[in-house]
Symmetry: C2
Subunit: 349 residues, 2 copies
């Protein structure tokens, strides 16, 4: 089959690799219908994180089940399934506590050192899925083709944006600021809207992203950054800041922006993977009673909550995809993301 | 009148000072019935924080109102009142958001540089109270003398322990670990119990404090610290840690202990004033979805919630006082706290 491998800095290739095989009774083999490129894939692509040897890549995919192991009981051959960006058994204590991203027996797509075999990445034709009953969520019947982009966002970005909003405690009437206008930040706007936020500020200076943010429910756009951005947010919210600030970037600058835009007693929900020197200024947090909560989003559980609204069309997070390419053009997909020509690129094998 | 002044390292003195005067129409003058020494008073007493010039000290007191300014409408002469450890107007946006400790017009007992006069400390005979209607809470009638220690804890330690528990999201059925066996840590145990925690571990190696912790509702005592303490806690809670950990010390070691005793997806509530190099390890928090929330406890609002239970005897946080001295022996009171001979010392003018 064909699969994408990251070789190093700006070196991404589609290559012929061995088809995956069932390696445990709990596995399934899924034929990918759609996958995509994540902002976090760019860390390796840009050489920010090293790639000592070529590795499979891609952690977001939907597809059709082709084979299941003898212990798989709920997932069936022919099911249309959504995979979260990790695998998980949904039976360990962390999964039962709702933190399936810390599954005691789970792992990450593309990791090559566990379960006695090569774990596939999502940017390929086939993927071996461990713990198939826990990891995968089957849709009721085959979904309409038009729904596929939105279903694909449940693998990561929509669930991750939702996690930012839940972590910040967004509820009916909350005032919300979203820092970051990537696919996750835009999905965080949508998540805040469906949770009932009364006012949602998207911080963005990109007209195309501003448009999606507004469509997703942003009531205000702030283009300013740094001190000016913080001052603008404070001015909008009683001089003190917003109830909930959703940090969807992961840099020191964005975290600083988020914390200082939060009112005393408010909460920062953060899902941007902490990059480099980002840290929490404990005295600022303590002095203002600002909480911080977030992390690797437990999207598997969120699929159950969000899927009905995607199927009904109540939410359309798939609008974050503004470019679609065949898997053969995966190299161009990365470049379009790298150069910020695309918000998020959908790939079809 | 007599008032306590901190002069410097281990130099605390009771001195004759001018009686306070009403300086704004919103002031009240309160005759102190009981005050006490706080763990945080020891930072200056021990010379950890400098004392460039002598300063009034003491931020916890209850008393009887002797005078009120012309604009005071709810507090009356003769009322028995509880003061939080700060003053606040209860009308600004932060107070209305429940964070009265960030009152836009509030301040701290003993501060000498605002409102055009000397702000008294609680360890004296009289205190001028700014924003009396906002700051003070009057009991219904004169309380029984036996209730005074518990009422006094509402000025700080009981509300602060409660804040740790609320910040960590303690609710019915939560598993809780309390790091710190000072008066605040012990009150945090009591707060967790009344919020319905199913299991409460007090980390303490002091038999007297262990006894109070058990009386307050601790179901388990762990004497181990550091790696051994963390391992013991994980073992007690499914190998992953507790839902809610209440950090009531403020050192790097205690924060580390707290974070690493929390299960993935759990929450640290922290109220120990961050001291020295304490900071938050963002990657540990992110990777395990552990939230941190807390700060300067907004105890003024909590008085309304906790007072009925103190008056009814349902909770007796005053048991944290294991030494009572006349104000004339304030120097001995500090020494007893400094040498950890007493959990908390009550002072009567």
């Amino acid at each position: 089959m064909l699969a994408t491998l990251l070789h190093g800095d700006h070196d991404i290739r589609l290559e012929e690799v061995n088809d995956p095989q069932l390696s445990t009774g709990g596995d399934a083999i899924v034929r990918v219908v759609a996958s995509c490129v994540c902002g976090s894939d760019l860390w390796g692509y840009r050489g920010v994180t090293p790639t000592p040897k070529p590795k499979r890549i891609g952690h977001e995919f939907v597809g059709i089940v082709e084979q299941v192991g003898g212990e798989v009981s709920t997932i069936k051959v022919g099911d249309f399934v959504i995979a979260p960006f990790y695998d998980c058994d949904m039976t360990c204590v962390n999964c039962l506590n709702g933190i399936s991203s810390s599954c005691l027996h789970g792992g990450w797509w593309g990791a090559d050192d566990r379960l006695g075999g090569f774990a596939d990445g999502g940017q390929g034709e086939l993927v071996r899925v461990p713990h198939a009953d826990g990891t995968l969520v089957a849709t009721p019947g085959q979904p309409d083709a038009a729904l596929i982009p939105s279903l694909l966002t449940l693998a990561d970005v929509m669930g991750t944006g939702h996690h930012a909003a839940k972590s910040a405690g967004v509820t009916a009437g909350s005032t919300v600021v979203v820092v970051g206008d990537g696919a996750v930040g835009l999905c965080a706007v949508l998540a805040a809207r469906r949770l009932g936020a009364s006012r949602i500020v998207a911080m963005s200076r990109n007209p195309a992203r501003q448009a999606v943010a507004k469509e997703f429910g942003a009531t205000d756009i702030v283009e300013l950054r740094g001190e000016e951005g913080i001052a603008a947010i404070k001015q909008m919210f009683d001089g003190v800041g917003a109830d909930c600030v959703l940090e969807c970037v992961g840099t020191q600058e964005s975290m600083d922006q988020a914390i200082r835009s939060t009112r005393p007693g408010g909460m920062v929900g953060y899902v941007g993977v902490p990059n480099g020197g980002a840290e929490f200024p404990i005295r600022t947090l303590f002095g203002n009673n600002i909480g911080v909560r977030g992390g690797v989003a437990p999207v598997r559980g969120y699929i159950d909550e969000l899927l009905p609204e995607v199927l009904s069309g109540a939410i359309e997070p798939g609008k974050v995809f503004d470019l679609e390419l065949p898997l053969a053009e995966v190299s161009e997909a990365y470049l379009a993301m790298d150069e910020r020509r695309a918000i998020k690129v959908l790939l079809r094998p």
